[in-house]
């Protein structure tokens, strides 16, 4: 049986981080620090979510002068709905386990 897409703990962790501030643009390194995901895990997840239309990205001018433009990410409306629906079953399972 095939693995259900986007349900790995790492993906849920990333989606949870993104959905906490759904309309805010986030950077790769900041997401890595927030989720604890290494770049070797983070980038394949970002690429996959982007391919699935759940994540949008744009280049932003750097806050600090002399630095290159930065690739920023946030959930699309579809990604926001998906992230909330993915997080809800996890919360229910957690509640069931602790009750």
């Amino acid at each position: 049986m095939g693995r259900i897409p986007n349900t790995s703990p790492q993906t849920r962790e990333l989606l949870a981080a993104l959905v906490r501030q759904p309309r805010t643009w986030r950077y790769g390194y900041d997401l890595s620090k927030e989720t604890g995901l290494k770049s070797g895990t983070l980038y394949p997840l970002l690429i996959r979510l982007s391919d699935q239309g759940l994540l949008e990205s744009e280049w932003q001018e750097p806050a600090r002068p002399g630095k290159p433009p930065r690739h920023a990410y946030r959930l699309t409306p579809k990604g926001g709905v998906f992230a909330r629906s993915t997080a809800a079953p996890a919360r229910r399972r957690l509640a069931g386990a602790t009750s």
Binding site: G28, K38, S39, G40, Y43, P44, S50, W59, H71
Partner: protein
């Protein structure tokens, strides 16, 4: 020194990924990491990520070499579906050297066995096979140009050719032509199995390729 190593690693990751916003994203993000050790860890992860992405089947199918090989496989379908029509034309137009040459690729090695079948095959089945061949050719060209239409062309060609084959093979003349006194594993099992499996594998590869092209278009 550590920072320099990190920069080299991320540049390597970018090369592995090829032209992509993600390779640029990795390179630029490194510039925003202050600590050298953190930058090195980030760069190592980028190399891992680039190889993870590169090693996927879909990405491999994006390379010109892989697409070229797949196009050659598709072209074998062109030859397979044009074969009967070519043999029919050679016999009808009395190009008997060509007919004899083509006959060497048939079970029994003699084209004359197929004359009753050639006579019994209606012209419109040849139209089906020629149409299928033209679509397979279009598929191979689209594949070489890295267009996702390759899968659509193949998906249209395969049923057309298969219908032609099925109608032809269901006739008594066909069964009579292809009845042999002694069984042969290659003729009775291996070749029919390959004839079914190879197009199925090509179709799956083309479908993966089409998805990869769609995703690449979405990223741009």
């Amino acid at each position: 020194m550590i920072r320099g190593l990190a920069v080299r690693l991320v540049k390597h990751a970018a090369r592995v990924l090829g032209t992509s916003p993600w390779s640029e994203a990795m390179k630029s993000e490194l510039e925003h990491i202050d600590g050298d050790y953190e930058a090195l860890c980030w760069a190592i992860g980028c190399v891992v990520a680039s190889y993870v992405e590169r090693s996927s089947v879909a990405t491999l199918l994006h390379t010109p070499t892989a697409r070229g090989l797949l196009a050659v496989a598709v072209l074998t379908q062109v030859l397979a579906f044009l074969f009967a029509t070519a043999l029919t034309l050679a016999v009808r137009l009395e190009h008997l050297r060509i007919a004899a040459f083509l006959g060497k690729f048939t079970p029994g090695d003699d084209y004359r066995r197929f004359i009753p079948l050639i006579d019994a095959t209606p012209w419109w089945i040849h139209v089906l096979w020629i149409t299928a061949s033209a679509l397979f050719l279009a598929c191979a060209i689209a594949l070489l140009l890295d267009r996702r239409a390759a899968f659509a062309a193949f998906a249209a060609a395969w049923p057309l050719g298969a219908i032609g084959n099925w109608i032809s093979e269901s006739t008594p003349v066909y069964r009579q032509t292809f009845s042999f006194p002694a069984p042969s594993f290659a003729r009775d099992v291996a070749i029919p199995a390959a004839a079914a499996i190879v197009p199925a594998m090509i179709a799956v590869a083309l479908w993966i390729h089409a998805r990869r092209v769609s995703r690449a278009n979405l990223r741009q």
